[in-house]
Amino acid sequence: VCLPACLFVTLTAAEPWPENATLYQPLKGELQYSYLYILLFLMCGLPVQVFCRANAEYMSPSGKIPFIHVGNQVVSELGPIVQFTKAKGHSLSDGLDDVQRAEMKAYMELVNNMLLTAELYIQWCDDSTATEISRPRYSSPYSWPLNKILAYQKQWEVRRKMNAIGWGGKTLEQVYEDVSQCCQALSQRLGTQSYFFNKQPTELDALVFGHLFTILTTRLTSTELAERVKSYSNLLSFCRRVEQTYFEDKSS
């Protein structure tokens, strides 16, 4: 059952992490999760450069962004990237026992399921945000009429996905409620600790930071989403702490 994964591991473990590893993301300003990965690599102590490319979505092997280009391999999506770094000998969750690892995976799915879907919904299914922000931003690198076609195509694609998973019938208020519920769950899990598990950061911390930081710093038509996140003070201080620990060094 695990044969492809094992093969993957043996192939990548051969070379160490090269110096010229790069992360590709679409243009600045769009809701993106590169912070998540940058943080992940910083936590592991691995160097990575960031390039912004308009066609990053098309360069990626699975269509999901961002993705990394390390040595002669291109990997996208969180799961494979985490496995890839693990194969190179860097893992953040080795110190966890089985029950904790189960909880970590479950919480990562919670963040993916609720936060990511809610962000997509707000960007593309809410008419005001889609018209004023998402469509113009998505179509900015292209000329007419390609920009219009691609923007509407992306919107239609996202709407179809929302319908398939049962979010099509939700109102914006309900989506904000779901985000609050997710943040509440995360806040309760974090409690008064510095990180979600013990004193060491794990992939879950990187994922939560990536999403929350993106929500807090991206401009949308209404600040409701950011306000909801800010109402959980321990999550806010968590973000500030991670930012100071890992990102202030970069900028200074």
């Binding site: 029950v99 799915e109 919670l110 409690g191």
Partner: protein, 316 residues
């Protein structure tokens, strides 16, 4: 006391109260929370108020379809199975439910609807046998297309098709999810303490069909059976909360025979009747003449003979 809410859900089989995961989740939660619901087990989704199953029709004539919405509604009515959970346990519930939706549900959809052998031998046959005429001709096919579309959108791949690689990937994720659930359950009776909560309902809803339904391609069931604590968890809930349905499994085979025999007899009768009426209408067989001739006296035999010759000539 106000009239109880009505719950429309799929019929049960294989020892389960219902064959659909979402219906099982709602039924289990209602049992755990002690909510009095008027159950309407049907096999025709068009008769449900929302067009799909499960569907809850509340006292205010509102219709809810999503299991999460139904559970929230029941909670508002003070039927709360999560009352004793701590804040952290509530957060864990949410996380594990998301885990199942992401990792286990796609594999369930694949195993029941997309895998060719399973779909043709078990799923489509079940729905075709249980749905009324004429829905049984086109509705299973339409449901399969909807499930394939859903799986395509969940995986983000428009050109997804049934295949070995996809199956391996989905089953691997599902096996990992089941392992994680097993690790979290440990040796406890339920996930949180001694009384079941909504997480138990969700886990039961997802695992019970895998455990009970015999599919030709049963890799998921094989893996689940290696996890003893999850298997015992499901059988425990079935015994405690759905005792009548558990016994139903033994009655299924003899129950099927009478309808089938009756159908065979009826169809043979209809075929015979059709052939007989065709023969009568075209004139190949005529009953009245023979009867009439039999009543008359023998001297008329010559007439009979000439009449018969006429008939033969007419046919020949």
């Amino acid at each position: 006391m106000a009239a109880p809410d009505e719950l429309f859900c799929w019929e049960g089989d294989w020892g389960l109260p219902s064959i659909s995961t979402d219906c099982l989740v709602v039924l289990a939660y209602a049992q755990f929370a002690g909510a009095p619901l008027k159950l309407r087990k049907i096999s025709n989704p068009w008769r449900s108020p929302s067009g799909s199953l499960p569907a809850l029709r509340t006292n205010q004539k509102e219709t809810l379809s999503r299991p999460s919405d139904i559970i929230i509604h029941l909670r508002k009515q003070k039927f709360n199975a999560d009352y004793d959970l701590s804040a952290k346990e509530g957060a864990d519930s949410l996380a594990f439910i998301s885990l199942m939706e992401e990792k286990l549900m796609p594999a369930l959809i694949y195993a029941f609807w997309i895998e060719p052998k399973n779909y043709v031998d078990v799923t489509r046959r079940w729905y075709a046998e249980h749905m009324p005429f004429p829905l049984n001709f086109f509705l299973p096919g339409r449901m399969q297309r909807q499930q394939l579309e859903k799986l395509r959108l969940l995986r983000g791949d428009e050109r997804l098709e049934a295949g070995e690689e996809l199956e391996k990937e989905l089953y691997r994720d599902a096996a990992e999810c089941m392992n994680l659930l097993s690790q979290r359950l440990g040796s406890h009776k339920f996930f949180f303490g001694d009384s079941p909560s909504s997480l138990d309902a969700y886990v039961f809803g997802h695992l019970a069909p895998i455990l009970k339904c015999k599919l030709p391609n049963g890799k998921l069931q094989q893996h689940l059976k290696t996890l003893d604590n999850l298997t015992n968890f499901c059988t425990n809930i079935l015994q405690l909360y759905f005792p009548k349905d558990g016994r139903g499994e033994a009655h299924n085979s003899p129950r099927q025979k009478p309808p089938r025999r009756r159908k065979q007899f009826l169809s043979a009768l209809v075929a015979l009747g059709a052939m007989l009426s065709y023969a009568l209408l075209t004139g190949m067989v005529s009953i009245q003449h023979a009867h009439h001739e039999a009543l008359e006296e023998p001297p008329d035999l010559q007439d009979i003979g000439s009449h018969h010759d006429h008939e033969d000539e007419g046919d020949g």
